[in-house]
């Protein structure tokens, strides 16, 4: 009985470890984007095409901002003084403009997928 329990435990453990390993391997790359005085920095981000990634957006302003990529139909409110880790879809090769919807004259940039 003890041997069966041990065997079962090892099987579960190995599955859990393999999932953990896979998850670590699948962890998408993170790119930092900062909003300060209603300007994004850097204004250009380069990512690998056809692979998901994470945008770590920090809003240093006091006011909320809405990150928007209209070509992808996506948007997200970034509260003032907060950081969001935004899971982004895999992009086909190309250039994708983004803006801060509330301050679009200054808050703008692009993601280049290549």
């Amino acid at each position: 009985m003890r041997r069966v329990v041990w065997l079962l435990t090892m099987v579960i453990l190995s599955i859990a470890l393999s999932v953990a390993g896979a998850s670590a391997a699948d962890t998408p790359p993170e790119l930092a984007l900062t909003l300060d005085q209603h300007r994004f920095s850097p204004e250009e981000l380069r990512v690998k095409a056809n692979a998901p990634f994470v945008l770590v957006i920090t809003n240093k302003d006091k006011e909320d901002e809405e990150f928007e990529m209209s070509s992808l139909r996506i948007e997200k409110i970034i509260p003032g003084g907060k950081t969001l880790q935004l899971k982004m879809p895999a992009l086909k090769p190309g250039t994708y403009q983004f803006i801060g919807d509330f301050n679009e004259k200054t808050a703008k940039g692009r993601i280049v997928a290549e």
Binding site: L13, L17, S23, P52, K76, L86, P89, A90, D101, F102
Partner: protein
Amino acid sequence: MRVAAVGLVFLVCCAVAPAYAQYDEPNITFFYPLVTRRPIIERELEFKLMHTKGLDARETEATAAIEFPILPRLQFEVEVPFLVLNPDEGKVVAGFGDIELQAKLQVFKSVQYRALVAFGLESKLASGSRARGLGGEYAVEPFLTAGIALGPFDLIGEVAYEWILNGDEHPREQEFTARLAIAYPASRWFIPLLELVTVTKTRGPADDEESLLHKTQVYLVPGFNIRPRAGVTFRAGVQVPVTTAKAFDYQFLSALVVEF
């Protein structure tokens, strides 16, 4: 030993789970159709103005609505209409119509494919005066709505089925509605759109020559969205029948949406 092993497995599993859960997902956004329901969970105020040239009356309806998410994927809406009814024969009447309540649950979201699916239930409360022609109907209408971005176009489709639950008519009316909206986001500020609407009364009294029972009414709704500033959208259009089976001659639709 056994407890230790189980504890170890539990710890590993707990360590794995946050790797998937820590990221935020962006919201998907589409245009505002004029009559088709959107599969989007919204947080906004809406002010609608509609004028209908009916078969025996002109009707103007001003509506205020609030849409509010109580969970990230569950939204409630309350809509209060005010009607002015000008019949071809008889005097003008005005007053509040039937209040509508709606719950909408988003059941599918794909940022990768830019697609959303939601279903919901709308119920009409008989708050308007039936005697004065301002409503007075209890009705329920489950609906399913889905949207997807295909290349440069956005498509939103919806099917709904309405049961009227009160009234002296026998049998009580039931209606199937299917809507399809297509838009071309020409810019962030202007989006032209076109909707196709079909309405089929599947049940109801048939003793009237003009009865629409089992006839499919088809309407086209050309229109547009204008976004004068961030968080504010104005939409307008006109719904016109393209079949002889019709409930009205034309209907002007407009709305101002303010996100909050």
